[in-house]
Structure formats: structure tokens, C-alpha cells
């Protein structure tokens, strides 16, 4: 199918990530199989990008190895990624913290499943805290993007790389089992060539590609034994996070202009709430939906602004209530913020979301 010059394809969210990665000039993928995201690596292996763009795809022995391969390649200024699901992403936290400390760009995809522990393979959003509050040790933040459609799985993969390199930070695509497994229409991003080594040297002079003659060597490290030096590194990171918070907030508003009540939800929950908004409107309740696309940085200002003109918020998540804490911080007591969630892999239905709004907030 063609729409203009763009080809419309039908594929799973996980497959869209693989296609988008190849197209945006990704240099390497390192991963370990885990449901519900194994299609990312399977698709890459099927597409054999090493024959076309030269992208390296390698199945690692563990998620620990995967994230450290990402570290190694990112240290060479390469555009690299890994993908996993919740238990695997827990294993990666050490590596993510090291990447944050070493100021290395890279994309980590988490197609969340229900936990804790081995949990379930069904969808979940219970890794919100882990993603946006810093899942590993030390003071760091990680830009976190929440796709709500197959199209966004592709688009936000590209954006994740852009943010990772702009802010020299690991960046997460935080999806869930449904967005990963569902098929929808998608227009894939245009092809961008991979950077040449000369381009990498020019753009990322810190990259360890081999020390040019007469130049100082590059060191990729997160180690500073002197407290003052380590504090300075932290200050640099924090300054970068403040810029991120100012410049990179992204969200979508649906029917918020005249809304009395606003759902706040991301990923699959936002899709469910979109239908709940339709149900509410059909019953004469002016409901809207605010869908954060960046979970970090969080749309604090937008929520503050809405809290001046709406009667309340209902937060819907596939968890016991994680993002709701950030919504409450932003609303700061101005209007009620209610929560409804399902856990362990259960997805609330649009009716459940609507009933939560009606019963908890309106009554």
C-alpha cells in the first residue's frame, strides 16, 4: 500500500523497532531472547542488515553482556541498542548506570511484562519507577519514551537515538507487551546512512576509535576517585537533565480543550483511555486524555496548567500506581487525582477505565 510515496506496512510493534533501527542508521544491536519482545532480534536476523547497511546484530549470552556490548560500542561513538523485557532490563541496570556515568549514548527497549520476579509474559507498566527514577545506582536520569502505537514504536526508536546522542545518555523506549505484540499500520522512517568513522571522529571527539597520532587518548570511564571530580561529573549530568526537562517534554492531548475530567495514561493504557473518553463523551461527561510521550522528562507544566481548569484527573496504569505519584506532584493538591490500575499482566478494559473516572472522581 502506498500513501503518497510512503509505503504503508502492517507489522508488530517489535518488528517496527527492528525496521526503524536499520533505517535510522543504527550500527549495532545486541540482545538476549525474552518474551514478549524476541521479535526485535528475530526480525533483525531475518532482515540481515549486515548485508545492506553493515549493521552488526549479535545474540549475547545474557542481558548483562548485551548492555555491556552496547557500552563498548557506544564508547566508539557507534549508534547501538539492545532490547529486552522486564526481568532482563533488571539485569541491565548496572550497565545502564555505567553508561549514564560514562556519558554514553545508547537505546534500551523495555517491552514490559508483569512482575515482580519471573512474573508473567503478559503486558505491564510496572517498570515505570525503574525507568524514570533511575533503576541503577547513583544520581542519574534516563530519557524515557512511551510509544502507544506501532507507528510510535518506529518513530520513537529514531527519536530515542537522537536524544541519546544529543544528551549523551542511555535512553529508554518503554513499551508494553501489547504494543510490542500488536500489529498495526506503520509508515517506516526514511533511510539515513550510518555515520562513517570520519564523521564519528568529527561529531564525537570522545569516541575510542584508536588514538590519532599526536592527539591525547580517549578514555571512556565512569570512575573518578576524587570526590570533587565526581561531584563535578554529577553537576554536568544534572545540568544536562535540567535542559532535557526544559526542551524535550512531549505529550499528546485528546479532547482536553473543554474537558472537565482528564485521564492521564501512557502506552497501552492511553489507548484504553482514549476509548473511555469516547464512552464518557457519549454519556455527556466531558472527559479528555493527556498522554505523556516522554515519561522522563515528565509533562509537569502541562499538568499544572490543566489542573487550573479541570475538576480532576484519573490516572490509569498497568501497575499498582507509579506514574500517579508524578501526576500528584505536578497537581500539588489543586484538584483530586484518582488512580485505577490492574497488575500482573491484566489490561483494564475501556469500561473499567470509564467506571474508575465515574465512580472515583465524579461521585
Amino acid at each position: 500500500m502506498r500513501k503518497g510515496s510512503e509505503e504503508i506496512m502492517l507489522m508488530k510493534g517489535n518488528e517496527a523497532i527492528a525496521h526503524a533501527a536499520i533505517r535510522c542508521g543504527c550500527d549495532g544491536y545486541f540482545g538476549y531472547p525474552i518474551t514478549p519482545q524476541s521479535e526485535v532480534m528475530e526480525t533483525l536476523m531475518e532482515l540481515e542488515p549486515w548485508n545492506t547497511t553493515g549493521m552488526v546484530v549479535l545474540q549475547a549470552e545474557s542481558e548483562v553482556a548485551s548492555i555491556n556490548m552496547v557500552y563498548g560500542a557506544a564508547g566508539c561513538g557507534k549508534k547501538v541498542m539492545t532490547s529486552s523485557s522486564s526481568p532482563g532490563v533488571s539485569l541491565m541496570q548496572e550497565g545502564i548506570s555505567y553508561m549514564a556515568g560514562a556519558e554514553l549514548p545508547g537505546v534500551i527497549v523495555n517491552v514490559m511484562r508483569g512482575g515482580p520476579g519471573l512474573g508473567t509474559i503478559q503486558p505491564s507498566q510496572a517498570d515505570y519507577f525503574q525507568a524514570v527514577k533511575g533503576g541503577g545506582h547513583g544520581d542519574y536520569k534516563m530519557p524515557t519514551l512511551a510509544p502507544a502505537s506501532v507507528q510510535e514504536m518506529a518513530d520513537l526508536t529514531v527519536l530515542a537515538f537522537d536524544l541519546a546522542f544529543k544528551y549523551l545518555t542511555p535512553t529508554m523506549l518503554l513499551a508494553d507487551g501489547i504494543i510490542g505484540q500488536m500489529m498495526e499500520k506503520v509508515v517506516l522512517p526514511p533511510y539515513q546512512p550510518r555515520l562513517t568513522e570520519d564523521e564519528i571522529r568529527a561529531k564525537y571527539p570522545w569516541a575510542t576509535l584508536g588514538k590519532p597520532h599526536g592527539k591525547k587518548p580517549n578514555h571512556i570511564t565512569s570512575l573518578e576517585l576524587l570526590s570533587e571530580d565526581m561531584e563535578n561529573l554529577n553537576k554536568r549530568l544534572q545540568a544536562r537533565y535540567r535542559t532535557l526537562e526544559k526542551e524535550e517534554v512531549r505529550f499528546e492531548e485528546i479532547a482536553c480543550e473543554d474537558a472537565d475530567y482528564v485521564f492521564v495514561a501512557f502506552g497501552i493504557s492511553a489507548r484504553v483511555c482514549q476509548k473511555a473518553v469516547e464512552i464518557a463523551r457519549s454519556e455527556g461527561i466531558k472527559a479528555g486524555l493527556l498522554r505523556p510521550i516522554t515519561l522522563y522528562p515528565f509533562p509537569v507544566e502541562k499538568i499544572k496548567e490543566l489542573s487550573n481548569r479541570v475538576k480532576g484527573f484519573t490516572v490509569i496504569e498497568l501497575s499498582a500506581g507509579q506514574m500517579v505519584e508524578d501526576v500528584r506532584l505536578a497537581v500539588n493538591g489543586k484538584v483530586p487525582v484518582e488512580f485505577y490500575g490492574r497488575m500482573g499482566g491484566v489490561v483494564p478494559s475501556p469500561n473499567e477505565a470509564f467506571n474508575a473516572l465515574k465512580e472515583k472522581l465524579i461521585q
Binding site: L58, A73, G210
Partner: protein, 259 residues
């Protein structure tokens, strides 16, 4: 000779030995008597001799050699504990014409990084692994390592390592030599001039092999840790010869290229 003054001595014409240019002019943080400094020097020698300073990327471990990147004038990455072979894998895969080596201790390679080491070797990554085995955790103050000898005392085995509790010392190179992905495994030491010369040849061979794309090369250097062992440097060397070498005998374990 008696009438030579300082100017005569530093006269380039009288030069008999020169530090290689890859080794930085920095005082090392290693304890006096430690083997690390010698191995660093050998690495510098070989990188200079092979003229690969601009093509070499080192991966430093967590352990005493965590600051290895300060001492050799090449590009370096510093890895999380045990993960150096994973970093090296990715670097070499993305930059196949570079020389990539890891520099790891026995805690790093044989304990926390066993999986990364074994799988990098099993995939036959064309990298060099320099493995410093001193039978103890030096950096953290002398705890038991997977390589600590039976009966050997450490801060976490104050009465000596016990087989019943701690198992036997782990001989990783012997184990890794079993893998088809590995082309060269050798065990060396740097406690005598002769040993240093042999070790130098082994490291050089490992770097040359890594350019042949025939698999992983591993050079173990059985080393002393006089601080951790609580011995004088001289006594530590003798103790190593008498105790370590029977468990970790020196020499080539595998060489598929020369064979």
C-alpha cells in the same frame, strides 16, 4: 668510569635502555613489587614495536588495574566488573581492523566475569585477553579469589582456603583452551628477566594472532600480590615459584596457529 659526570651519563650516545613511548610518564599506583607494572611495560613495548598505537583499544577491568588507562597512551574503555570481554566483543565487531584487548584480573575474569569471558572465547572473538592471576583480590584488600590456592590465607579465608567449603582453585585458561573459538592460550610470569622475555614474546604473539582473525588469544600472567599475600616482594616471588606454579604451570597450553 670514575670521572663520568651526570651530563656524560645522560648523553644519548650512552643510552642502553629506553622506556617505550607508549607508557606514560606517570607514577603508577601499584604496590612496590607488584607484577602489573611489568606487564604494562610489556604491553607498551609491543604496541610500540608492532606500531599499532593508533589502532589499539584497551579495555580496563575493575580491580587493581582499573586505572590501566592512565598508564598506556592509547584509547581505553573502563568496564564494569567482569564485563570487559563483552565491551571488547562489541568494539572489535564494530571496528574489525582494530587491535582490541582486555586486561583483567582473576576476580574479574574468573569470578564475576566468567560468563562474559567464556562466551567471548566461545564465539572466537578476535581479541587478546591479558589475564593477571595473583590468586587474590588485591584492590579490595586481600580477599579470597576463585584462584586462591588451597590452604592459602586471605581476609575472607583467614584459616586458609578449604576445598570442602570453597572448592578448588579455578584454572580458567585450561578450561578456555577447550573451546574451538580460542586459538592461543599461554601461561607466563614476570618474576625473572628470563620470564619477562618469554612473557613479552607471548603477548606479542597474541597481538599478532588477533590480526589473523583466527579466534581469541589468552595470555595469563601468574603474578604476585605481596601486599595481599602479606609478604616482601622478594619472598612473594619465591613463594609464587614454590606454590603457584605447581597449580598454574608455565608454558603454552594451546597454539592452533603454530601447531
Amino acid at each position: 668510569m670514575n670521572n663520568m659526570n651526570i651530563t656524560d651519563i645522560v648523553n644519548p650516545a650512552n643510552l642502553v635502555y629506553k622506556k617505550n613511548s607508549v607508557l606514560n610518564d606517570l607514577p603508577m599506583h601499584y604496590c612496590p613489587g607488584c607484577s602489573h607494572g611489568v606487564v604494562h611495560k610489556l604491553l607498551g613495548d609491543i604496541i610500540e614495536e608492532l606500531n599499532i598505537q593508533e589502532q589499539t583499544i584497551g579495555v580496563a577491568p575493575v580491580g587493581c588495574a582499573v586505572f590501566a588507562y592512565k598508564y598506556l597512551d592509547i584509547d581505553w574503555q573502563q568496564a564494569a566488573h567482569g564485563r570487559a570481554p563483552a565491551l571488547a566483543t562489541a568494539i572489535k565487531r564494530l571496528l574489525p581492523d582494530r587491535y582490541v584487548f582486555t586486561y583483567q584480573g582473576d576476580g574479574d575474569l574468573a569470578a564475576i566475569g566468567t560468563a562474559e569471558t567464556l562466551h567471548a572465547c566461545n564465539r572466537g572473538e578476535n581479541i587478546v585477553i591479558i589475564y593477571i592471576n595473583n590468586g587474590i583480590y588485591g584492590m579490595t584488600g586481600g580477599q579470597m579469589a576463585p584462584t586462591t590456592l588451597l590452604g592459602m590465607k586471605s581476609t575472607t579465608s583467614p584459616k586458609g582456603r578449604m576445598y570442602e567449603r570453597d572448592g578448588n582453585p579455578l584454572d580458567m585458561p585450561k578450561l578456555l583452551a577447550e573451546l574451538d573459538g580460542v586459538c592461543y592460550v599461554t601461561r607466563q610470569a614476570v618474576h625473572t628477566v628470563g620470564a619477562v622475555k618469554k612473557c613479552r614474546r607471548a603477548i606479542k604473539k597474541a597481538f599478532e594472532y588477533s590480526a589473523l582473525n583466527k579466534g581469541t588469544s589468552i595470555v595469563e600472567v601468574v603474578s604476585t600480590c605481596n601486599s595481599g599475600w602479606k609478604m616482601t616482594p622478594d619472598f612473594a616471588n619465591r613463594w609464587m615459584v614454590e606454590n603457584m606454579f605447581s597449580k598454574y604451570p608455565l608454558g603454552d597450553i594451546k597454539d592452533t596457529i603454530q601447531a
